[in-house]
């Protein structure tokens, strides 16, 4: 299904980079010539507390902002979003549109039989990716888990190109970035894990690309066709 607009809801836990992921994805979409808008929604910044962010990408100017109540795509950054209900909505897929997509960072299936049935009734595809494992394997840090979530949604929906993601990552991590104290601390933490900034950028892009390829292959094999129309449309 080709959409004029793709609504992506990212449900994660504080410190996982869900906010950064939505911003990077939207930045990449803008670089691809699409319209995009991204915003986070969280309470007091706290690690492991529920944190959500939203990215809307489309072929026309988007005004809608705030919590995404009716998403096409939901990305679950952490199993606890499902297993411990660390979600802004219960169940976590509340509001998902028909023919939508759920991407879950987990090595093992997490959905109950009831959840599976309800998602199936709505023709929602479910894709599991061991995002944290991939991040550890390629980047050597679980802080790059958000990169696998960016890669997954891009790989399946082609909502942004890898080239644009490369540029967006350079913009986000290649220069000094001032946000909240929590974000600044995490930025410092991840920079310390890499000898050089170039290495951080390189490893992050590799992580994105690996997830992108795995997800794209899965989408092809399972005939999952959910994408945004071309910018010129």
């Amino acid at each position: 299904m080709i959409k004029r607009r793709l609504n992506i809801r990212m449900s994660g836990l504080g410190g996982q980079g869900a906010v950064t992921a939505a911003h990077v994805l939207a930045m990449a979409a803008a670089k691809d010539g699409k319209y995009a808008i991204s915003n986070p929604f969280f309470g007091a910044e706290k690690r492991m507390a529920p944190a959500e962010s939203y990215c809307r990408i489309g072929v026309y100017r988007i005004y809608d902002r705030g919590e995404l109540v009716y998403p096409d795509v939901i990305e679950v950054f952490h199993p606890q979003v499902i297993t411990m209900g660390k979600s802004y909505t219960m169940p976590f897929y509340s509001g998902i549109k028909e023919n939508g997509l759920v991407i879950i960072n987990s090595e093992v299936p997490l959905l109950s039989d009831e959840d599976v049935k309800r998602l199936k009734d709505l023709n929602v595809a479910v894709f599991y990716i061991p995002g944290t494992q991939i991040a550890l394997e390629i980047a050597g840090t679980e802080l790059s888990t958000n990169m696998t979530m960016i890669g997954s949604v891009a790989g399946i929906t082609k909502c942004v190109s890898l080239q644009a993601l490369d540029l967006a990552l350079q913009e986000r991590f290649g220069k000094k970035f001032v946000a909240s104290g929590g974000t600044a601390t995490l930025d410092e933490a991840i920079k310390k894990k890499f000898a050089k900034k170039e290495m951080l950028l390189k490893k992050n892009l590799e992580t994105v690309t690996r997830a992108y390829n795995i997800a794209a292959e899965w989408a092809e094999k399972n005939n999952v066709e959910l994408c945004v129309a071309e910018a010129s449309a």
């Binding site: 939207a26 930045m27 670089k31 808008i37 915003n39 809608d64 705030g66 001032v178 909240s180």
Partner: protein, 402 residues
Amino acid sequence: MATPSIIGQKNKKGQVYTDPWYMLHEAPRTPSFFTGSEVIKEAIRRASVDVMIAYPITPQSEAAALIGELFAEGYVGDYFRGESEFAVMSECAGAAFGGARVFTTTAGPGTMRAMENFPMWAGSRLPIQMIVTCRGINSPLSIQPDTLEMAYLLQTGMLVWHAETAQDFYDWILKGYMVAEEPDVHLPLALCCDGFFVTHTKDMVELTPADMCLPPYDPYRSPVPCMDMECPPVRMMRDPFVMKSNYISYATHASWQQEVWAAVERSRKHTIAWLDGLIDAENVESDVVIVASGTAVSQGREAVAMLADEGIDVGLVKVKTIRPWPGEEIREATKHAKHIVIPEFNIIGWLAREVKATIPNNERVHAGPHVAGGMTMPPEIIVGEIKSLLGMKVETLATRGS
């Protein structure tokens, strides 16, 4: 001898003092994908601000910190952190009394804590600009957007504008100084937005060149002498003519209040020129017209598009300034409407109250939908209310998806 113009000269950062009208209406623009907080920084970079005073409170902290970066880079004359919001706003007054162009940012409980200062700013005719990134003010705590605090600002004598997007923010910060510093206005401006929905949202914004900046504030354009507490000509505390209980003091005070509100009215003509009208009206020949300010305008635009897909024609009025209040403009824009729908991000519906007090046949006003405490307003909710008003069947939103 004619005074040489500062236009065309460079500041210490090499920026050229540029004619503001040229800078904001004709100079080339560069599209940039920024959060609202980053946009505040970029506007202040070009605003020739002398003093910025900061105090942390979500969701304005990021903008305040970013302006600290600007100070470190040398774009802001002075920058420091106050002891509380009350202290910040008092210190802003001191800086403005001293002839500085002053900027500050606050939100929610911070706005409330500092409230005593706002009528004082207006009465002292200080053209301070304060960004208000609205958030919940009540208990239980919320840091999410809720525009209730704006209702408290409406009677302070400040100019109150409500930005919809980061683009509005960028332009209006710069234009705001131009309006507020006019000698026949010379009032503080509360430039409000819905926190998070603007401050933390990344959106495409068109920026003016970074090497152009506003001419500096000229304190000699102030219409009143500086009101010093101890020194002539006013000696407010030592020689307090307004603190004596007699007819002259009451009359002085009353006429000064009238003058402050007259100055708000006089800002109208400047604001209309700079903001291209106090409202934007689209398709207001329709039977149904949405009247909104801030993020509610954006959600209204989405609702209008969704209803158009179903063949339902709805108009939209974007209210840009709440003070001065565009009463005449709203009367004109809503004269054909059978239903006037006013979505708001607060529980009391202060915008609907203002509209009801303004237009004839105000039973046409439908105050709502309302969300509060940081809730989002999906356009589907506005669509649902409009369909209900038109007697159409509405799908229950809660049954969708899950």
